[in-house]
Symmetry: C2
Subunit: 452 residues, 2 copies
C-alpha cells in the first residue's frame, strides 16, 4: 500500500536465502508469501541462478507468472534454462506476444525455437509476426493484439466489439480507426466514446493519428509516444496499414532500457542489462575491461607527447607539477560540454545540422570559462611560484578550456552525423583525447613564454 518499498525486509531475505540453502521448502513458501510481487522479484534477483530456480519452483502458479513477469529479461532467460520443459512451456504460453519476444532475445536459439513450436497456433502466429521485424525496431516491441474500429460505425457497435476483445487486447483505451484495407485513418479514445451519444459515428469522434512505422527505431518511436503524452501509438507498415500498437507502459520500458545503456556508455562501461548484485564479478570485469584497455592505449599518446618534451621537463621540473591539474581541468570542461550536447541530441533539442551553432557556442562558453579559471590560475601561481610560471598556467588554462569545450561539444554531433550513438564518444574518451592536446598546448606555451 502507501510508501511501499521495492526492497524486502532484510530478515525475510535472510530467511529465504537460508531456507533455499537448507532445502526447507515449507519455510521458504511461508517467507515468500509475506512479500509483494515486486519485493519477491527483487529478492530472487539477489540469489544465485541455482538458488533462484529452487525458490521459484515453490511459488503457486499464478504468483509464479506474476513474479516471472517482474523479472528482467536476462534473468527470465536464465530461469527458463534452469526449469523443466513442461514448466517452461506452461509459463511461455501465458506471456503476451511482445513480452515473449523480449524473453526470446535472451534465450539460446535452440531453446527459443523449441518453445515457439510448443505454442498454440494463434499465439505462434502472433509471436512470429513480431519476431519478423528487425532487432531494435518498434515492430518488435509493439503488440499485434489491437482492437480497431471503422469510421462509419457508431459508438454502441464500437463498444460492443470492444467488449468481445476486452480480455486479449493490449489496450482498450486507444482504438485505431482503419478503412477496409486496414489503412489507418485516425484514432478514437475510449474516453471520447464514453462521453459521446450512443449513435454518434466514430468518424465524428476520431482524431488525427500519430503513428510509427514498424521498421522505425524503437527508441525514437517510444520517445515520441512519451513526448506526445499518448497512451498508445499505432504501428503501421510501409503502406500505412495497421500492424500493431505500442502502449505507453511498453514505451517507458524501452526508454528506461535505452537510458540505462546511455548512462553506462557515458561512464565507459558496457550496459549490464541485469541487476548489479545478480551480475557475477567476471561479467562486471568484462563490461569494463575493453573500454579501459582502449582508453589506456589512447593515453599512451600522452606518454609520447611528454617524451617529446622530456628535455624541457628535465630543465624545469616545476612544469611537471601542473600536468594533472591542467589536463584534469581540460577533461572536465570537455566532459561538461559533451554531457550537455549529448543530452540535447537525445531530446531532439539540437540536430546534426546545428553543428556550426554548437561549435561557436561551445567555443564562447569554453573561452569564458578559460578566462575565469586562467585569471585565477595566473594570480595564485604568480604568488606561490613566479610571474612567468603564472603566465604559462593562465594562458594554458584559457587555451585548454576553449579547445576542450569545443571538442567536447562537437564530438557527439559528429557521432550523430555519421549515425553512431553519441554516447559512444563517452566522457572518458573525450578526456583522453583532450589530455594529449592539452599537453602539447602547455609545453608550446611554456617554451614560448619561458624561452627554453
Amino acid at each position: 500500500m502507501a510508501e511501499e518499498q521495492t526492497a524486502a525486509p532484510t530478515a525475510v531475505i535472510n530467511t529465504i536465502t537460508q531456507s533455499v540453502n537448507d532445502k526447507d521448502l515449507t519455510k521458504l513458501a511461508a517467507a515468500a508469501g509475506k512479500l509483494s510481487t515486486r519485493q519477491l522479484a527483487a529478492t530472487l534477483e539477489r540469489l544465485s541462478a541455482r538458488q533462484r530456480a529452487v525458490a521459484y519452483r515453490v511459488l503457486p502458479k499464478q504468483r509464479a507468472l506474476e513474479v516471472f513477469d517482474a523479472l528482467q529479461p536476462a534473468l527470465q532467460g536464465e530461469l527458463v534454462e534452469a526449469l523443466q520443459d513442461a514448466e517452461v512451456a506452461a509459463l511461455f504460453a501465458e506471456l503476451n506476444p511482445d513480452d515473449r519476444v523480449w524473453l526470446m532475445d535472451e534465450l539460446p536459439a535452440t531453446v527459443a525455437q523449441r518453445l515457439l513450436r510448443g505454442l498454440p497456433e494463434r499465439d505462434r502466429q502472433l509471436t512470429a509476426e513480431v519476431l519478423g521485424y528487425p532487432k531494435d525496431s518498434i515492430g518488435r516491441r509493439a503488440s499485434p493484439e489491437v482492437v480497431t474500429t471503422h469510421p462509419e460505425i457508431d459508438v454502441t457497435e464500437t463498444l460492443r466489439r470492444l467488449r468481445l476483445r476486452v480480455d486479449d487486447a493490449e489496450t482498450v483505451y486507444t482504438l485505431p480507426v482503419v478503412d477496409h484495407e486496414r489503412r489507418i485513418v485516425g484514432v478514437v479514445s475510449l474516453r471520447d466514446l464514453i462521453g459521446a451519444a450512443d449513435d454518434a459515428l466514430v468518424e465524428s469522434l476520431m482524431q488525427e493519428a500519430h503513428t510509427a512505422v514498424a521498421t522505425e527505431d524503437a527508441e525514437l518511436a517510444a520517445r515520441r509516444c512519451a513526448d506526445l503524452e499518448l497512451l498508445a501509438l499505432p504501428v503501421v507498415d510501409s503502406e500505412e496499414r495497421l500492424v500493431g500498437i505500442l502502449t505507453i507502459d511498453d514505451a517507458v520500458r524501452i526508454l528506461q532500457h535505452e537510458e540505462s545503456e546511455d548512462a553506462a556508455r557515458q561512464g565507459g562501461v558496457e550496459p549490464l542489462n541485469r541487476p548489479y548484485l545478480a551480475t557475477p564479478v567476471f561479467t562486471l570485469v568484462r563490461s569494463r575491461v575493453v573500454w579501459l584497455l582502449v582508453l589506456a592505449l589512447g593515453a599512451t599518446l600522452t606518454v609520447q607527447v611528454l617524451s617529446v618534451f622530456e628535455a624541457t621537463l628535465a630543465q624545469l621540473t616545476v612544469l611537471a607539477l601542473f600536468v594533472p591539474l591542467l589536463i584534469g581541468t581540460g577533461g572536465n570542461t570537455g566532459n561538461q560540454a559533451a554531457t550537455t550536447v549529448t543530452r540535447a541530441l537525445a531530446l531532439d533539442d539540437v540536430s546534426p545540422r546545428d553543428v556550426m551553432k554548437v561549435l561557436t557556442r561551445e567555443m564562447r562558453v569554453g573561452a569564458l570559462l578559460g578566462l575565469m579559471l586562467g585569471a585565477l590560475g595566473f594570480a595564485i601561481t604568480s604568488v606561490i611560484y613566479e610571474m612567468n610560471v603564472g603566465i604559462v598556467i593562465g594562458l594554458t588554462l584559457l587555451a585548454v578550456c576553449t579547445v576542450a569545450a569545443t571538442v567536447g561539444g562537437i564530438m557527439p554531433m559528429l557521432a550523430r552525423a555519421i549515425r553512431v550513438d553519441p554516447a559512444v564518444f563517452s566522457n572518458p574518451f573525450i578526456s583522453t583525447f583532450v589530455d594529449a592536446t592539452g599537453l602539447i598546448i602547455y609545453f608550446l606555451i611554456a617554451r614560448a613564454v619561458l624561452g627554453i
Copy 2:
C-alpha cells in the same frame, strides 16, 4: 503522421525567423500554419525570448494553447512575462491545475500570485491545494481532479457518474474506489468495468490499490508508477484519504526531468531545464563554472602531492612521463564503478545496507582489471624503458585500479546513506579525488622499487 520529425524543415524555420525580424505577420502566420504543434514549439524554442513572444502572438487561440502546453516550463515562464496581462490570464485559466503548478514554479512570486488571484474560484481552490504540498513532493505533481466510485455501487451507475466527469477529469481509465470518508479501498479499471455485467458491483471488480503519499518524493512515486506499469497511481494523505491522482504521462515527464538532472550532474554540469539552443551562453557558463572551480581547487591537491615528490621527479624525469596515463586510468576505473553503482541505486537494485557487498565486489573487480592492465603495462614499459620502470608501472596500475574501483563504487553508496543525491559525487569529482591518491601510490612504489 508516420515517421514525423520533431524538427521542422530548415526552410520553414528560416522563413519564421525572417518574418519575425521583418515584422511580416501574414507571412509568419502562414509559415506557422505549415508545422505540427511539436514542430512549432521546437521552432519557437530556437528563437530569442523577444522573437518568441512576437511569433506566439500571431497564433490562433486554440493553437496557441496547444503550443504553450508543449513548451518547457522555463520557456512558458519567460513567455508569460513577455505577454500582456489579459492574454496571460486567458491562457492560465485554460491549463490543468498540475500544469499550472509546473509553470508557477518558474514565475516570479508576484506574477504567480497575481495570476492565481485572476482564476475562477474552483480553479483557484484546486491549484492552491496542489501548491500546498512541499516542492519535489508527488502531491505537487498529481492532479486533484479525480473521478471516484464506491464499492457498493454497480457498473451502470459508475459509468453514468464517469460520463458526467469525462470533460474535466485527469483520467477516466483508472478509478480509485473510496469509502464514505474518502479513504481508498481499491481501484477499478475502465477496462474491467466495460468487460463486466451491467449490475456487477464495483466491489467484485476492484483490485488492491498501489498508492503514493502526497508528501512522498515525486521521483520515487513516478518510478513506482512506471515500474508497476500502472496507467495511474492514486495519491493519498497520511490517513489514506484520496487527494489526487498521478497519471503515467505525468510520471514519465517527472522521470525524464530527473534523468536530465542526473545526466547533467554526472557530467559535472548544473541542469539547464531548458533546450540547449534556447539557453544564453552566460547561462551555460553559469551552469558549469562552479563545478569547474570546485574541481580545479580539488586538483590543486595533485600539485601539492607532486611538490612533495619534486626531488624524486628531478632525479628521474622519466617518472613524469607516466603521470597522465596512470591518473587517467585510475579516473576511468573509478568512473566506471561509480556509473554502475549510481545506476543500480537509481533502479533500487542495491540499497545503502549493501555497502559491504558493493565494497568487496568492486575491490575484486578493480584488482582483476588492475592485474590485466598492470601485466600489459609491465610488459610494454619493460621493453621500451627498463625492467625496473616496468615493475613500478605494473604495480602502480594494479594498486590504482583496485583503489579507484573501490572508491568509485562506495562514493555513491555513502552519498545515498547520508541522503545526498548520489549523482552529486559526479564522475569528475571522483576522478579528481582518485588523482591525488594515485600519485601518492605511484611515487611511494617508485621510491621503494628504484631505491631513491
